[in-house]
């Protein structure tokens, strides 16, 4: 059995930022366990730019953004195990992992940071009717084939879902010579960033069809075509609007699911909306000493916010290791009226630092107000030009606001039109 102060599960942007922050706070023995061959996580295959505008104030590619953190990790004495899969985290913080060099590894940790990221929703979750030929895959899988393996997974492409990966892959496949015929989006709005719709679809003349979905796949061996149809307000296909589109590839960008199998193994309580653990403002889960950050906690729109969040978790883990993390009085946060969820779900009212509450809205709002309320008092109210489900928002709670609260208080965030 090895001993570490902090075990970080996952060496993507979240895991690296958490480990680096903990190191800066003075934690001595830290190890990062990463299942891929290198650190960097999914950023390694995101070779487009647009990363780092908030955090570094410059526009970087995914590998560049990750590279800066990898370089920082290499400067420290943080141990890194790559190509190493964590199999289990026990209730007493023993992490079991395996790789093909060291065999089975068991590590006793004081604190654990979970940073496993998320995965894409596959076809099965959508129940698209039809055949099951080759050529139907998630957009992220296609991205790996193109950007990492260097092979084209198709030539004539339909994309279902206008999440950011779908939009990015529409452009990428086009640049590699494929014909992207259409991007279909079930909802009446896109789930992706506005800038990606402009730069990845509009600039290349790729049509985006809202309120439209793929209802069947055709072709016995390789995909030969799909049937698309418009959907009504209940998201049901409208008979008579069916249209056959010839294609050899269907890329799915229909949502991301935090990978919480390890969290479930420990028995950590998850938020039904985010799919990630319930955490406090330091991203500590309800299991003492286990923290979570990045896309395993909530699916982010920008990696910059992942970094920000993970530094908070790293600091929280350090405080825990040094016995400085306060117990205090925790109250709940709650998203209402258009606010789908809030992370963190609980806040220590004895906290002496600013706390940012992150949230997403359930539909597009123009000119609406974000109102934060507690015990009948409006804590803040701010008008926003635009609020969209694809973009994460946040509001700030100050220690002064927290001072007036008691153990029965609840902070709510809502949208007022």
């Amino acid at each position: 059995m090895l001993n570490y102060d902090l075990v970080v599960v996952g060496g993507g942007p979240a895991g690296m930022a958490a480990a680096l922050q903990a190191k800066e706070e003075g934690v001595e023995k830290i190890v990062i366990l990463e299942r891929a061959e290198t650190l960097g996580g999914i950023l390694e295959q995101c070779i487009h730019t647009g990363f780092g505008l908030h955090y570094f104030g410059e526009e970087l590619s995914g590998p560049e953004y990750a590279g800066r953190f990898i370089a920082e990790v290499e400067k420290t004495d943080i141990d890194v195990y790559t190509d190493t899969m964590v199999l289990d985290v026990s209730k007493d913080n023993v992490v079991t992992a395996v790789n093909n060099r060291d065999g089975l590894i068991q590590i006793k940790a004081i604190a654990v940071v979970l940073a496993m990221g998320c995965r894409e929703r596959p076809r099965g979750a959508l129940s698209i009717a039809g055949s099951r030929p080759a050529g139907v895959m998630t957009a992220g899988t296609a991205q790996k084939y193109v950007n990492i393996d260097g092979y084209m997974p198709g030539k004539k492409v339909v994309i279902l879902g206008s999440g950011d990966i779908g939009l990015i892959m529409a452009r990428r496949m086009t640049l590699e010579g494929a014909e992207v015929k259409v991007v279909c989006e079930l909802m009446p709005y896109s789930g992706g960033l506005k800038r990606n719709i402009v730069q990845c679809l509009d600039d290349f003349g790729i049509p985006l069809r809202l309120s439209c979905t793929v209802i069947a796949t055709h072709g016995k061996e390789r995909l030969e075509g799909v049937t698309i149809a418009n959907v009504d307000e209940n998201l049901k296909p409208i008979p008579g609007t069916e249209q056959y589109i010839e294609c050899d590839t269907l890329l799915l960008s229909v949502g991301l699911i935090p990978e919480n199998e390890l969290s479930n193994g420990v028995g950590i309580e998850l938020d039904r909306v985010t799919g990630g653990p319930v955490v406090d403002e330091y991203r500590e889960t309800l299991h003492k000493g286990i923290f979570a950050c990045g896309n395993v906690l909530q699916v982010h729109d920008l990696v910059d916010y992942v970094t920000e969040e993970s530094k908070i978790a790293g600091k929280g883990a350090a405080n825990y290791i040094f016995g400085k993390k306060q117990d205090g009085t925790f109250i709940n946060t709650k998203g209402v009226n258009g606010v789908r969820y809030i992370v963190p779900q609980r806040v220590n009212i004895e906290n002496e630092e600013d706390v940012k509450l992150y949230f997403r809205v359930g539909q597009v709002y123009k000119g609406a107000k974000v109102v934060v309320e507690c015990d009948g008092n409006i804590l803040s109210s701010k008008k926003k030009v635009m609020l969209a489900p694809g973009e994460m928002e946040n509001v700030k709670i100050t220690p002064e606001m927290l001072k007036n609260m008691n153990k029965n208080s609840e902070i709510t965030v809502r949208i007022e039109e």
Binding site: R35, D83, M85, L87, T96, V98, N99, N100, R101, D102, G103, L104, Q106, R119, E120, P122, R123, G124, A125, S127, A129, G130, S131, R132, P133, A134, G135, M137, T138, G140, T141, K144, Y145, V146, I148, D149, G150, Y151, M152, P153, G154, K155, E176, G177, I215, A216, T217, H218, K220, E221, R222, P237, I257, E261
Partner: protein
């Protein structure tokens, strides 16, 4: 190429027949048009070893089902295939359906099915707490089991090949010439001579029989759509939950699978194209609507995949097993729909019996190894076992499929096994890599890489399931 026996079709029936024949001192080849075994109805059915109460007494279905249940235990033990005896309920949703249960019970007893009993709602709810509100009673069949049909097929074939049988994949029979005392099969892999031909071609068995002028077999493919739910849902039912059977089959069931998922289906749609396995929105919807009658908690939010398969329903409404009227050395094994999987080991035994009558001087081999070694299943091991395994072979330390915890070593084993995997779906069926929640999103390209490396071919020649199911095309710019 010349063989004593050519078996056409590597479904569960063809594979187990081949294994049975590999016990004898004869040359046996199993011809399969696809790139792997278990590619037809075998890979898309309910995966139940039925107790045997459903078939009409005196029918081949009844006889072979009951015998099959007995032989299945032996086969699964020898082949190291998990078989779980979880029992089954046929549920009545109204008082009017109860006489139907009684009828099934009596029919079952006549067929020789042990332990049948009718349980009423209070007892049923105790045993199956998630059962639907309208369930009033159920026929309980304790001998009903579940098995993975393609795993059984793969294991049977591996064992047959180990014992000297040959597996010829991508070998579609196009034409059969009767040549004096024997046959010449014109296939996509050239001419193959055989003294005896066994037609186990599933939905295409009618077409294959026609190749020798036998038009007695009329197959009406019956498509069935299924949902497979995540492992988190596997405990919604403890036994297989049937509804009262209808003319179109056993109806929609809800059942745990041996791997711990929940299977829901099938629909029953008669159509003409036995190769068409497109699910339809209506089919899937009807499956869901029936399933929630049995287990209301079934939720499609937890569906990880949906698929469909064709049962080789035959107008004679019973299995057709025996020599063709056109040529006694041509043995039809046709119309093998439910309870085909349950009967498969008994069908194999029966067919081998017929073959021994046809080949003079046929004898059991002095050395037949009935056992297929259990494949390594890392996910089922304890930490101590895992540590030892990885120490012995480092390839077992590299996890390729994270959802199902499948190691590189297991994938390499699956490729190099007798009649091993040649495509991504072949690896999936042998190891479960790609069968979990992400459905191969992460591990798919790694499996392609390992297949290419182990088979020593370029990565863009690796397919999903043979034929034109290409995964990658040209290199990027």
């Amino acid at each position: 190429m010349k063989y004593d026996v050519a078996v056409i079709g590597a479904g569960v029936v063809g594979s187990l027949i081949t294994r049975e024949l590999s016990k004898y001192n004869i040359g046996v080849a199993l011809l399969e048009r696809a790139n792997d075994c278990a590619m037809g109805a075998t890979k898309a059915n309910s995966a139940i070893v039925h107790a045997g109460f459903d078939a009409k007494p005196g029918s081949l279905k009844a006889k072979l089902n009951v015998r099959g249940v007995e032989l299945m235990k032996v086969a699964c033990e020898e082949l190291n295939v998990p078989l779980k005896n979880i029992g089954a309920y046929v549920v009545a949703f109204s008082e009017e359906e109860i006489p139907h249960l009684q009828e099934l019970l009596e029919r079952g007893e006549e067929n020789g099915v042990p332990g049948l009993e009718i349980v009423y709602r209070d007892e049923l709810v105790k045993r199956e707490p998630n059962i639907g509100e309208k369930a009033v009673a159920a026929l309980y069949a304790p001998t009903s089991s579940i098995v993975c049909p393609y795993e059984l097929t793969i294991a049977g074939l591996e064992n047959a090949v180990t014992n000297g049988a040959e597996f010829l994949r991508n070998c579609e029979v196009k034409e059969i010439r009767q040549n004096g005392d024997g046959f010449v099969l014109i296939t996509t892999r050239g001419e193959i001579e055989a003294d005896v031909v066994i037609n186990a071609a599933g939905v295409h068995s009618g077409k294959v029989a026609e190749m020798i002028g036998d038009t007695s077999i009329e197959i009406k493919p019956r498509r069935g759509d299924y949902y497979l739910l995540d492992k988190s849902q596997g405990a919604l039912a403890f036994s297989t939950i049937f509804q009262c059977p209808t003319k179109m089959g056993k109806g929609v069931l809800v059942s745990p699978t041996v791997d711990g998922n929940l299977i829901v289906g099938p629909s029953a749609i008669e159509h003409d194209d036995g190769d068409n396995v497109e699910t339809t929105a209506e089919g899937l919807e009807s499956v869901y609507n029936s399933a929630i009658k049995s287990i209301p908690a079934v939720s499609l939010r937890n569906a990880i995949t949906s698929f469909s398969g064709n049962r080789a329903h035959c107008t004679a409404d019973d299995f057709i097993i025996g020599s063709s009227e056109k040529n006694k050395k041509f043995i039809n094994v046709a119309g093998i729909e439910s309870p085909g999987l349950s009967s498969a080991p008994a069908i194999a035994e029966m067919v081998a019996g017929i073959v021994t009558e046809l080949i003079p001087g046929i004898q059991k081999k002095s050395v037949f190894n009935p056992n297929r070694p259990a494949p390594v299943r890392f996910r089922e091991m304890t930490s101590t076992q895992r540590a030892k395994l990885v120490e012995k072979n480092k390839a077992y330390g590299r996890i390729i499929c994270r959802c199902e915890t499948i190691t590189e070593g297991e994938i390499i084993d699956a490729i190099h096994a007798p009649a091993g995997a040649r495509d991504v779906d072949g690896v999936k069926r042998r190891t479960r890599a790609g069968m979990g929640r992400c459905q191969g999103g992460f591990c798919g390209s790694k499996v392609v890489e390992i297949l290419a490396r182990e088979l020593n071919v370029p990565v863009n020649t690796i397919t999903k399931f043979g034929g034109k199911s290409d995964i990658m095309y040209d290199k990027t710019k």
